[in-house]
């Protein structure tokens, strides 16, 4: 950044975007926060009185607590599996030769650009009772297993959607590692495993951490995957919000859940920034 004298110019340049973002991000969020404190009545709709009842209901009713627990559990499982698959895969990719490296990197992260509805639909075909996975099970004599509309289906598809978000940061941190350092460790008598653990792993910790936070945040607020692969009964936070808004028409309750999802997400993001900053300060001394 090369700084020029500050006048009105930067503000004039940024004003159109800033106004749009204020009007369509800050104002609607404030309105939703206010809405979440409004009384709702099934007969007359949203009332002008304020209440904390929606938050109290969410935090005490076992129906909601179960859904939140499932959301956190499945998001955590997705994060762990993504880390277990994504980190080794990024490492393997980084050791490949061109052109394979570029080709497979694109194959792994390219699906990021394909609509999530399409990918969810693909998995519903694969995991359904007549899908390829069950065909394979039957061929192995295992019989038909119900996978679609179970938590397994949700996690499998979430891992598929989130994997690029884990591979990318780990890959980026591996790019900064000089391969000769690992070779030096071998020369000095370290086993492959020791070199991996003592040289490579510390280097990718930051990538792994940032990938995990992004994956967890996105999984916890994912909508299409639980909606299409979890069926009607297996709800997660996002599908719950959708139901409250579109089916129950209880907007204030839906708003309260949405605000809770937002707060959890922001806490994760802020924690992430703290960690990155602390790390940054340490390396700069």
């Amino acid at each position: 950044m090369s700084s020029a004298r500050a006048g009105t110019t930067p503000w004039l340049l940024a004003a159109p975007g800033a106004l749009l973002f204020a009007a369509l991000v800050i104002v609607p969020l404030a309105l939703t926060l206010i809405l979440s404190f409004h009384v709702y009545d099934a007969a007359s709709g949203v009332k002008d009185e304020t209440t904390l009842a929606h938050y109290a209901a969410i935090l005490s009713d076992s129906y909601f607590l179960n859904i939140f627990w499932r959301t956190l559990r499945l998001a955590a499982m997705t994060t762990v599996i993504c880390a277990l698959i994504g980190a080794p895969e990024a490492y393997i990719l980084s050791r490949m030769r061109e052109p394979w490296r570029s080709v497979f990197l694109l194959a792994i992260i390219g699906p990021l650009l394909v609509s999530v509805v399409v990918r969810a639909f693909g998995w519903s075909m694969l995991l359904g009772p007549t899908g390829l996975v069950n065909e394979a099970f039957r061929a192995l004599g295992l019989g038909t297993v119900k996978i679609l509309y179970t938590e397994t289906a949700i996690v499998v598809a979430l891992v598929h959607v989130m994997l690029p978000f884990m591979v990318i940061p780990v890959w980026t941190s591996l790019q900064k590692l000089d391969p000769m350092v690992e070779a030096a460790a071998w020369t000095l008598g370290a086993s492959r495993f020791t070199a991996l653990r003592r040289v490579v792993l510390p280097q990718v910790t930051m990538g792994l951490l940032s990938g995990s936070l992004v994956v967890f945040g996105l999984s916890a607020s994912a909508f299409a995957i639980p909606a299409l692969l979890g069926g009607r009964r297996l709800k997660m936070a996002a599908t719950l919000v959708y139901d409250e808004y579109m089916h129950e028409l209880n907007w204030p309750l839906g708003a309260a859940i949405a605000i809770l999802v937002l707060v959890i997400n922001l806490i994760i993001m802020l924690a992430y920034q703290r960690v990155v900053e602390a790390r940054f300060k340490r390396t700069l001394g």
């Binding site: 950044m1 090369s2 020029a4 500050a6 110019t9 930067p10 340049l13 940024a14 159109p16 975007g17 800033a18 749009l20 204020a22 369509l24 991000v25 104002v27 609607p28 939703t32 809405l35 080794p88 895969e89 990719l93 050791r95 570029s102 497979f104 694109l106 792994i108 992260i109 390219g110 990021l112 650009l113 394909v114 609509s115 509805v117 399409v118 990918r119 639909f121 693909g122 075909m125 359904g128 007549t130 598929h160 994997l163 990318i168 890959w171 980026t172 790019q175 607020s221 909508f223 299409a224 909606a227 996002a238 919000v241 959708y242 808004y245 907007w251 605000i259 999802v261 997400n265 922001l266």
Partner: protein, 264 residues
Amino acid sequence: MRHNGPIALLFHTLVVGFVLAPLVVICLVAFTPANTLTLPTTQFSLRWFTAVFGHPDFVASFLNSLWVAAIAATIAVVLAVAAGLALDRYDFRGRAALNALFLSPLMIPHLVLGVALLRLFALLGATGSLLWLTAGHIVVVTPYVLRLVLAALSGLDRSAEQAAVTLGASSWIVFRRITVPMILPGITGGWLLAFINSFDELTMSIFITSPATVTLPVRMYMYATESIDPMMAAVSALMIAVTAAAMMLLDRIFGLDKILVGQG
């Protein structure tokens, strides 16, 4: 020295298989001649693709998505270039806050943006307007463009601009003839990335579309929850084709790995 062993390659093959499996299955099932979701074995048919184009809802939604994505991406580029210049070239009070505001849609779940905009539009009486839907999409895709524009601006050698100024060019001429051509890869890459993200957006749009403004992903979602037939596979295959085409274009212009992996 840096070889992947057989176990590593087996693992890699499984991962690539896992990543590509649902997309490959969709593209194969789309060509089935049968009435059910089955893999075509001996015969391939285009009947389900024909069915898509004979389905007025899907055609209308596709056109909605195309318009929304094209307009949102274009306006996002204009906003992001202006904001990018302000953020890159000037040091002013509130710069960090402005930066955070522009990148905030990346941190807010689309679900939350969706319900928030639904509330705003309901109060404004603007639900079901294509214009407001597009405005929502602009907000969601601008951060992607801004990141690429900022990266292009920070990597720019400013001596050409200074030379032009010394030779008497006005600031508009400098911008149009020097700055824009130099950051053009960032601009085109940003536009395409914005287009794809808007074209694919489901979670926010599902809250703020009405029957007349349904976008393609929302239409597909609604269709998939009601009935599942091979037409869904054909639409999906078409979407994969559109995305793949945009991806190849992005790769040519900017290098896809650079865009997706970021400048880290």
